[in-house]
């Protein structure tokens, strides 16, 4: 039955996916089995995205279906039942920039990939980012920006992380349409990703210990 759920999510059949979830839970299926099926489905969609077979609408729709399923699963899952998290990532759109679509997709994909994601939203003040990295002992910080004004904010954020003595504990990745390797160098970050899949790969690489 969980295979049917996986298939429905992969094919983005929202109504079917939610109906099957209800049926499985009603039949007493272990909720962790559903979580695993969803994760497998999202891996397939993520791979399709990386291969150029799926696009942002497919990622957003998949995220929407996952939210619906998660809401249904919540009463059945004990705290911490979803297993160990891979690590903690603080995500935000850099100060001065309020674009959220790209950042939100990265948050969803990181969450599904098994990270604990602290989402600071848009226009994130430098001090707020520093506090979030420190308080959550984040291993990765993701700064997003669609405007060139975000470049300066990214640089200021990296400097503030350094000033707070946190730079050694956190890897910093950048993302957003105008971001390139030159922006990484300018801001003093560690790397950048062209899309959400690249962001997840970077986070996995870093949390796994490689650099």
């Amino acid at each position: 039955m969980a295979a049917g759920l996986k298939e429905a999510v992969i094919e983005l059949r929202e109504d079917d996916a939610l109906r099957i979830t209800d049926e499985l839970l009603g039949a007493g299926t272990d909720p962790l089995e559903l979580v695993a099926a969803c994760k497998e489905a999202m891996d397939v969609i993520g791979q399709r995205f990386a291969d150029g077979q799926a696009f942002i609408p497919e990622l957003i729709m998949a995220g929407e279906i996952m939210q619906g399923i998660t809401a249904k699963l919540k009463p059945y899952l004990k705290a911490g039942a979803q297993g160990e998290k891979l690590g903690t990532v603080v995500m935000c759109t850099a100060q001065g920039d309020i674009h959220d679509i790209g950042k939100d997709i990265v948050v969803t994909m990181l969450d599904i990939a098994g990270f604990n994601v602290v989402d600071l939203g848009v226009d994130a003040h430098v001090d707020k980012v520093v506090a979030a990295v420190r308080d959550n002992k984040a291993q990765v910080l993701g700064l997003s920006g669609l405007l060139t004004v975000a470049f300066e904010s990214m640089k200021a954020t990296v400097k503030a992380i350094e000033a707070a003595g946190l730079r050694d504990q956190v890897k910093i990745m950048l993302g957003g349409a105008p971001v390139t390797g030159a922006v990484v160098e300018f801001a003093g970050a560690d790397d950048w990703g062209k899309d959400a899949v690249a962001a997840v790969e970077l986070a996995k690489t870093w949390v796994g210990g490689a650099s």
Binding site: E14, F55, P57, I60, G96, D97, D100, F151, V183
Partner: protein, 446 residues
């Protein structure tokens, strides 16, 4: 601008030539005969590249946002609120840099107007964004997912009674008023107008009047700014009107990016029907503006069809058909669509090189797109341009800029049909990198 009496009998090509002649012969009092000639020469550059021919020199026409204000140490807030700064910096910047086109004064928006209207659709300096940041769209579902039927049935009524009251706080009372189409016979006239006696409606009408004054104050400043650049420097405006692709109208400021992407799965038929409904008004919007300004170029920024934003199949089925209908409608009227492609369009080049669009009638300006392929696929039918990246302007050295422009022009401009420009509207640029951009354009584009 007054169209000739025989306009309806002219072919699209005759209309285009008439509009180009009118643009080139614009009745402006230039500072000197030399400046007048410089203006006409610059318009000729556009005529040549549009026709796919080699111009005297490659036109250098960057899209300018807040850059002049940063250049002279002023904030976005000052540019949006202080019209002396708005005008002075605009002129001094163009005097210092001398590009071949003037764009985009409309992007330096009037803050006072939005204060009066209580505009919710965007944040701007002092209203949700810092003083030195450009205005930014507040991404929300300003049109709800269950409102397609109302939009499709009567876009005008939907705008007036649902959308506008939601995006402008000052226009909320429009929701209380009936649609204007009720006004058909004498017995129904009094009930219609009775609604205007309500105090909130009266207050709204006063705000509309104030908004009109604020808009006119800004418009006079904008016309003075552009008029001075034109009259004293001989630089033509790059566009005389604007419109949008129907899919972007829905996705940018109505359903929002996320909302429209979900609609693709949940109600694709409604998206198509709504876009078809938006085609005539998209054409009419540009037509009215361009007829007023006398400049035939229609600026069309496009967003939501970029690579990654949808599959190729969806682009062909959802995005392109109604956008193509808009382009054809503009070309029919002798207008020149100047499509400002934001993001990457590598996957779309074969589709937009559509052979049903007459050759040499429009301009495609690219950003993060492979320009060699763009030249080979789109450039063989239409003028193309672009695509110096934002990051290079903001952080590149003059040497890097020079090398990029040299390579770009060698790839795209050797046989004409190319406009050198920025990939995005420029808010930020290192002055040395920006000057290197202009100089490289002159050096390698000659």
């Amino acid at each position: 601008m007054t169209l000739p009496d025989n306009w309806s009998r002219l072919t699209p090509d005759e209309r285009l030539q008439w509009r180009l002649d009118a643009w080139q012969g614009i009745p402006v009092e230039f500072a000197s005969p030399e400046v007048a000639q410089a203006y006409r020469d610059r318009v000729q550059l556009y005529r040549d590249v549009l026709a796919g021919e080699k111009p005297a020199t490659v036109p250098v026409a960057p899209w300018i946002g807040l850059l002049p204000y940063r250049w002279f140490g002023h904030s976005a807030k000052q540019a949006y609120y202080d019209y002396e700064i708005f005008k002075d910096d605009w002129f001094r910047f163009h005097d210092d840099t001398r590009p071949d086109g003037l764009g985009l004064t409309l992007g330096i928006v009037p803050g006072k107007l939005f204060d009066i209207l209580d505009y919710h659709l965007y944040d701007w300096p002092g209203h949700g964004t810092p003083d030195d940041t450009c205005y930014q769209y507040s991404e929300q579902e300003w049109m709800k997912g269950d409102e397609y039927a109302a939009l499709i049935q009567d876009p005008g009524s939907y705008w007036q009674r649902t959308y506008l009251p939601r995006v402008f706080g000052a226009l909320e009372p429009f929701a209380m008023l009936p649609p204007w189409t009720d006004l058909v016979e004498i017995p129904f006239t009094a009930p219609f107008f009775a609604g205007f006696s309500a105090p909130p409606v009266k207050e709204m009408l006063q705000k509309l009047s104030d908004a009109g004054d604020a808009a006119m104050e800004w418009l006079q400043a904008a016309m003075a700014a552009d008029g001075r650049v034109m009259a004293e420097l001989g630089i033509p405006q790059t566009a005389g009107g604007a419109t949008k692709a129907p899919y972007d109208t829905l996705g940018d400021t109505m359903r929002g990016t996320r909302g429209l992407m979900l609609d693709k799965f949940r109600q694709p038929g409604n998206i198509k029907a709504a876009m078809e409904r938006l085609v005539p008004q998209s054409i009419d919007w540009a037509l009215r503006s361009n007829n007023m300004t006398g400049n035939p170029i229609v600026f069309i920024p496009i967003h939501k069809g970029a690579d990654g934003f949808m599959s190729d199949a969806d682009f062909k089925e959802l995005y392109w058909p109604t956008f193509k209908a808009v382009l054809l409608g503009l070309i029919e009227q002798g207008l020149i669509p100047w499509v400002f492609v934001e993001g990457s369009y590598n996957e779309r080049l074969e589709v937009i090189a559509d052979e049903e669009i007459p050759a040499h009638r429009m301009v495609w300006m690219f950003d993060a797109t492979d320009m060699e392929r763009a030249k080979a696929i789109v450039g063989k039918r239409q003028c193309i341009g672009g695509n110096v990246p934002a990051a290079l302007f903001a952080m590149g050295t003059p040497g890097e800029m020079d090398a990029y422009v040299k390579d770009l022009l060698a790839t795209t401009a050797t046989d004409g049909g190319f406009i050198l420009s920025s990939g995005i509207v420029l808010d930020e640029a290192d002055p040395a990198a920006y000057k290197a951009f202009i100089e490289a354009g002159r050096k390698y584009g000659a």
